[in-house]
C-alpha cells in the first residue's frame, strides 16, 4: 500500500487492504475506517444502493471503532469481522457468482478504478468479484459453483497497450517456468517453503497483472490456483499427491490460457483451453480432495491467530488476502510494509490446521528472495534484433580495426606511439567482442526444468520409478540455440524415460535398484557446450539395430562398422518404425529428427551404450551459432570456409593413393579405406585451380556415418568467423550454409559439408553416362 492512501478507495480496494492488515496497524485502520465511513454516507443517501451493503458497512465501521478504541479484548477478531463484512459487500455488489442477479449493482464495475502500478501486487479490485469469499462465508450454499459465474471471463480484451501486453506475456512465461520448477522441487521436498513461495508469487503476480490488463480468464485461474497455494503455504495442506498434481495442472492450464490469450493478442482466433472450467472448479473445491494430514512440524513461532480462529471461515478466504508472501521481497515491500510472518487474517478450520513451517526461517528466506529479486531488477530486456545488430557492428569493428592495424603506415616501425595506440584500441575491441557475444548467452536452466517436468510426466504415465538429476544448469548457451536444443532434448528424455528405463519389476529382476536414474548434465569444454544425457536403463540392443539396418538395407554388412557407427544408425532417417525396435527409438518418432536438429545447431551427437547397463548420449554444441570455427581454404582465386567440426583431417595425397573406378569415380585411399574424392573447383566451377591432386590438398570431411575427400588448392588459415545468411535474394544455395566477412572485408562462403557431399553425389550420378563433370553445370540455378 502506498504510504499516502489514494483520496478515495472503492470497496474492493478497501477489502483487499483490510485483508492484509494486522490489528496493530492503527493508522491504516483509521484511514480505512474513514474511507468506509465516507462510502457509508454516500450509500445512505443513495436510494438505489442495496441496503444490505450499507448495513454491513455500518457494522464494519462499528467493529473498527471498537478496535480503534483500544479496549477490545480481541482486536484481531474485531478486525476480521470487519474485513469479512466488507468482503461480503464487495461480493454481493459484484456481478457474478453466488448472489442473485437482482442484487447486482452494475455501476460498481465502473467504480473499480484501474489500479495504479503500486497496487498491482495487492489483490486487485477487479479480482474481488471472482474471489470465493462468498462461498466460504455462506457455507449452506451448494459447494459446486454454477458455471454461469464464468460467463464474463475475458481472454484478451481488445484495446490494450500492445507493449504492456507483450511484456506481460514474457513475464508470465518466466513466472510459469519458475513455478513449474518450484513445484517439482516441492514434490521431492513438500516442506520447502521457498519453493511454495515461488509458486505462490508466480500465480500472484500473473493474477495481478492479468487482472489489470483485463484478462480475467487468466486472472481467475491464477487466483484459484493461488488460493490452493496459500493453503499449502499456510501449512494447511501439504504439496503432495493429489494436491501436487492439481498444482501442476494449474500451472499447465495457466500456461495454456496465457498462450491462448497471446494468440488472441496476435489477432488469431483463440478460445479458453479445454478443461479450463473443470480445473477452476477443482481448484475452488480443492478442500474436497482427500486431505492428507501433515506430519507435525516443530513450530518455530506459534501463529498467534490460531487460538482465535473461528470455525466459520474455511481456508479459501485466505486466498485473496496475502498479497505479500510471508517471505516478502523488497519490491513488494515497496508497496507496503513487510510483515514477516504475519498471521493470516482468516484462519483455517482448527482441525485442519497443521502447524505451519512458514515461519521457520523467514529471515533467510526473505534474504534469499530479496537477492533473487534484486538480480532480476538489474536486468534490462533488449530486443534480440538490436542485440544481433550490436554483434554485427562489433564484428565490423574488429575487421575495421585489423585493417587499420595492418595498414602499412600503421605497422611501420617508425611510429611507436601510433602502434601502441592501435594495440590499445585492439585490446578494447577484443573485450568488446567478448562482451557482445556474452550478451546473447542464457543459462540452460529453463530448458532443464522443462525436461524435468517431462521426465516426471512420462515416468508417471508409464509407471516407472525414476529420478531425474540435472547438473550444470547454469551453463550458458546462445539464446538463439536454446529453443532449438530443447526439442531434441525433450525427445531424448522422453525416450530415455519411456524406453530406456525398465519397469521396476524388470529392474529388480536385473539386480538393479528399482528406481532408475536419468542424468542430464551440461558443461563447457574447449569452447563447446556439452550436454550429456545418461540413463541406467536397458541400453541399446546392438544386434537388433544391425538386424533392422540390414533389413532396411541401410547397411550391407555389419563388417567394418564400429560400435558407435552402429549406434549412429538409429539416427538414419527411416530407421525407426512403429515397431519397437530398440529401447530408445521405439515409437517411430524418429531419432533422425534429433540428429537433424543437432546438425542444424552445428553440433554432434555420440552414443555409447552397454547392454543392461544404460546409455549415454553426448551432445556437443558450439557456444553460439553466430561464430563458426572454420578452416579457410583457397581454390583458384576463391576462398571458402569449411567448418572445423566437419573436418577429420587433411593431407596431400601420393600418386599411389589415387585411383578411379570405371574411369570416372575418383577415389583416394586413406589408411586402406577408399574415400570418394570430389574436386571443389569442379563442383563450383572455379577457374584456375590446381588440377593435380598431388599438388593440391585433400580435406577429409565426415558426414555422420560416411566420409569423403574434398580437393582444394591449399589451406590458408584457421579462423573464427561470424556466420551470416546470404540474404533472401540469394536464398538457400546448395552446399553453402552462409557467408562471413573475412579479415580483408571480403565475403567468404561457408561450406555446408553434408549438402556439399550430396551435391557431389548428385553430380556424379547425373554424369554417370556422360563426360565426367560438366563445368557449366556449376552455374546452373539450384
Amino acid at each position: 500500500m502506498p504510504k499516502k492512501p489514494p483520496p478515495k478507495r472503492s470497496l474492493p480496494v478497501l477489502a483487499s487492504a483490510m485483508i492484509q492488515l494486522t490489528p496493530d496497524e492503527q493508522p491504516e485502520i483509521a484511514a480505512i475506517r474513514k474511507d468506509l465511513a465516507r462510502e457509508f454516507d454516500e450509500r445512505s443517501l443513495d436510494r438505489t444502493a442495496p441496503e444490505d451493503v450499507t448495513k454491513r458497512l455500518g457494522e464494519a465501521i462499528a467493529q473498527l471503532d471498537a478496535l480503534l478504541a483500544g479496549d477490545a479484548s480481541d482486536p484481531a477478531r474485531l478486525l476480521r469481522t470487519a474485513t469479512d463484512l466488507v468482503c461480503e459487500t464487495t461480493s454481493s455488489e459484484a456481478p457474478p457468482a453466488m448472489q442473485d442477479a437482482s442484487s447486482l449493482a452494475p455501476r460498481v464495475e465502473s467504480r473499480a478504478p484501474i489500479p495504479s502500478m503500486a497496487s498491482i501486487l495487492a489483490p486487485l479490485p477487479s479480482m474481488a468479484p471472482m474471489s470465493p469469499v462468498a462461498v466460504s462465508l455462506v457455507p449452506e450454499r451448494p459447494s459446486r459453483a454454477p458455471a454461469r459465474i464464468y460467463r464474463r471471463l475475458t481472454l484478451m480484451p481488445q484495446d490494450q497497450d500492445a507493449e504492456l501486453v507483450n511484456e506481460f506475456f514474457s513475464e508470465a512465461s518466466e513466472h510459469i517456468a519458475a513455478a513449474e520448477a518450484a513445484l517439482l522441487t516441492l514434490e521431492a521436498q513438500p516442506d520447502d517453503m521457498a519453493a511454495v513461495n515461488t509458486v505462490f508469487r508466480a500465480f500472484h503476480t500473473v493474477k495481478g497483472v492479468a487482472a489489470m490488463l483485463g484478462m480475467t480468464a487468466v486472472a481467475q485461474l491464477a487466483h484459484h490456483a493461488e488460493s490452493l497455494l496459500s493453503r499449502i503455504r499456510d501449512g494447511e495442506i501439504r504439496c503432495t499427491g493429489p494436491y501436487a498434481n492439481l498444482c501442476l495442472r494449474g500451472v499447465d492450464m495457466l500456461k495454456e490460457t496465457v498462450a491462448s490469450a497471446a494468440a488472441m493478442a496476435r489477432g488469431q482466433r483463440a478460445e479458453l483451453p479445454d478443461g479450463y472450467f473443470e480445473l477452476v472448479d477443482e481448484l475452488m473445491h480443492s478442500d474436497t480432495l482427500q486431505v492428507e494430514v501433515a506430519p507435525p512440524v516443530p513450530v518455530a513461532a506459534p501463529l498467534p491467530a490460531i487460538a482465535t480462529a473461528p470455525a466459520v471461515a474455511p481456508a479459501p478466504v485466505v486466498a485473496p488476502a496475502p498479497a505479500v508472501a510471508p517471505a516478502s521481497s523488497p519490491d513488494t515491500a515497496a508497496t507496503r510494509a513487510t510483515r514477516t510472518p504475519k498471521p493470516a487474517p482468516t484462519i483455517p478450520k482448527p482441525e485442519e490446521v497443521a502447524p505451519a513451517p512458514v515461519s521457520a526461517s523467514p529471515e533467510t528466506q526473505s534474504a534469499r528472495n530479496g537477492a533473487a529479486d534484486a538480480s532480476a531488477q538489474d536486468s534490462v530486456r533488449v530486443r534480440t534484433d538490436r542485440l544481433d545488430r550490436l554483434v554485427d557492428m562489433v564484428g565490423e569493428l574488429v575487421i575495421a580495426h585489423s585493417m587499420v592495424s595492418q595498414d602499412s603506415h600503421a605497422s611501420a616501425a617508425s611510429d611507436v606511439e601510433l602502434s601502441k595506440k592501435i594495440t590499445h584500441v585492439g585490446k578494447i575491441v577484443r573485450d568488446l567482442q567478448d562482451l557482445s557475444m556474452s550478451l546473447r548467452m542464457v543459462p540452460l536452466k529453463p530448458t532443464f526444468q522443462k525436461l524435468t517436468r517431462i521426465a516426471r510426466d512420462v515416468a508417471r504415465k508409464g509407471h516407472k520409478n525414476l529420478q531425474f538429476l540435472t547438473e550444470g544448469e547454469e551453463t550458458e548457451i546462445d539464446r538463439n540455440m536454446v529453443d532449438a536444443i530443447a526439442e531434441p532434448l525433450v525427445h531424448m528424455v522422453r525416450n530415455a524415460a519411456d524406453h530406456g528405463i525398465e519397469t521396476p519389476e524388470a529392474r529388480r529382476l536385473a539386480g538393479k535398484p528399482e528406481q532408475g536414474t536419468i542424468r542430464l548434465c551440461a558443461y563447457h569444454m574447449g569452447g563447446h557446450v556439452m550436454i550429456d544425457l545418461s540413463d541406467d536403463g536397458g541400453g541399446l540392443d546392438r544386434e537388433r539395430i544391425v538386424k533392422k539396418a540390414l533389413a532396411k538395407q541401410l547397411i550391407t554388412s555389419e563388417k567394418g562398422l564400429s560400435e558407435s557407427e552402429i549406434f549412429q544408425l538409429i539416427f538414419v532417417p527411416g530407421f525407426s518404425t512403429n515397431e519397437a525396435v530398440t529401447d530408445v527409438s521405439g515409437r517411430g518418432v524418429g531419432m533422425d529428427v534429433v540428429r537433424k536438429n543437432i546438425d542444424r545447431l552445428k553440433g554432434r551427437i555420440e552414443i555409447s551404450s552397454e547392454r543392461g547397463k544404460g546409455t549415454l548420449f553426448s551432445i556437443r554444441l558450439p557456444l553460439t551459432l553466430a561464430i563458426t570455427d572454420g578452416m579457410l581454404v583457397r581454390v583458384g582465386q576463391e576462398r571458402y570456409i569449411i567448418p572445423t567440426r566437419d573436418i577429420s583431417l587433411n593431407f596431400r595425397p601420393e600418386p599411389e593413393q589415387l585411383s578411379t573406378a570405371v574411369g570416372r569415380g575418383e577415389m583416394v585411399m586413406l589408411r586402406g579405406n577408399p574415400l570418394p574424392l570430389f574436386r571443389l573447383h569442379e563442383l563450383f566451377g572455379v577457374q584456375g585451380a590446381v588440377e593435380d591432386p598431388c599438388q593440391a590438398l585433400v580435406v577429409v570431411l565426415h558426414d555422420g556415418a560416411s566420409a569423403c575427400a574434398l580437393l582444394v588448392d591449399e589451406l590458408l588459415s584457421q579462423q573464427q568467423v561470424v556466420a551470416k545468411s546470404l540474404g533472401p535474394a540469394v536464398g538457400q544455395v546448395q552446399a553453402i550454409s552462409g557467408g562471413a566477412i573475412l579479415g580483408d572485408g571480403r565475403v567468404g562462403l561457408i561450406l555446408d559439408p553434408s549438402s556439399l557431399i550430396s551435391l557431389a553425389r548428385q553430380r556424379r550420378a547425373s554424369s554417370a553416362n556422360g563426360p565426367r563433370i560438366e563445368k557449366q553445370a556449376a552455374r546452373m540455378p539450384s
Binding site: 554485427d392 557492428m393 564484428g395 565490423e396 576463391e638 563442383l683 563450383f684 566451377g685 572455379v686 551470416k724 545468411s725 546470404l726 540474404g727 533472401p728 535474394a729 540469394v730 536464398g731 538457400q732 544455395v733 546448395q734 552446399a735 553453402i736 557467408g739 566477412i741 572485408g745 571480403r746 565475403v747 567468404g748 562462403l749 551435391l759 556449376a778 552455374r779 546452373m780 540455378p781 539450384s782
Partner: protein
C-alpha cells in the same frame, strides 16, 4: 495512348527524380527513392549454383548483399569491370540488392512532358521493366521499374527458397 487523360496521369506519376546510369552505351534511370547508395565496384564473392545474373555477394558494412549484374539480367554481354563500374544499392520490397552498372551519370528531374510510354519492342518480359521513356536534350533514357525488375519469377523463386 487512345486515352490521353490516362496517359497524362500515368506520366505525372512517373515524373520525378531519377538516378541515371549507363549500360552498354544506353542510358537508364531508377527512381531516386529506391536508391540507397552508390558505391564503387567492390570485390564480389561469386556464389555457385545461383542464377547467372547474380554476380555474387559483397560486404556492405557488415551486411552481406547480393549483387545483380544488370547487363546479364537484361540479356546483354557481360563486361569487364573498370574504374567506372559502380554498384547501385537499391531497396525493393525489403530486399536490398546491389546492381552492377557500367557507370553512373546523374540525378535527373524528369518532367512529365518529357515522358513517353515505352513502345512495344516485341520482347514481352523486358517491356514490363519500364515505366517509360524520357526524351530530353536529344537523348533517350529508359526509366526502370526496379520493383518489377527484381520481382521476376526467378528472383521470386529464390526468395521462396
Amino acid at each position: 495512348m487512345t486515352e490521353p487523360a490516362n496517359l497524362e496521369s500515368e506520366n505525372s506519376r512517373a515524373a520525378g527524380k531519377y538516378l541515371t546510369f549507363v549500360l552498354a552505351g544506353e542510358e537508364y534511370g531508377i527512381g531516386i527513392l529506391k536508391v540507397q547508395e552508390i558505391i564503387g565496384f567492390q570485390p564480389i564473392t561469386p556464389v555457385p549454383g545461383v542464377g547467372a545474373y547474380i554476380d555474387g555477394v559483397f560486404n556492405l558494412r557488415g551486411k552481406i548483399i547480393p549483387v545483380i549484374d544488370l547487363r546479364v539480367k537484361f540479356g546483354m554481354q557481360r563486361q569487364e569491370r573498370s574504374r567506372e563500374t559502380c554498384i547501385i544499392v537499391v531497396e525493393s520490397r525489403e530486399l536490398r540488392v546491389g546492381l552492377v552498372v557500367d557507370a553512373v551519370s546523374e540525378v535527373r528531374d524528369v518532367k512529365s512532358e518529357e515522358l513517353e510510354a515505352m513502345p512495344n519492342l516485341g520482347f514481352e518480359a523486358e517491356s514490363d521493366y519500364f515505366l517509360g521513356i524520357c526524351k530530353a536534350n536529344g537523348k533517350v533514357r529508359f526509366l526502370l521499374d526496379i520493383d518489377r525488375v527484381l520481382a521476376t519469377e526467378d528472383i521470386l523463386a529464390l526468395r521462396r527458397l
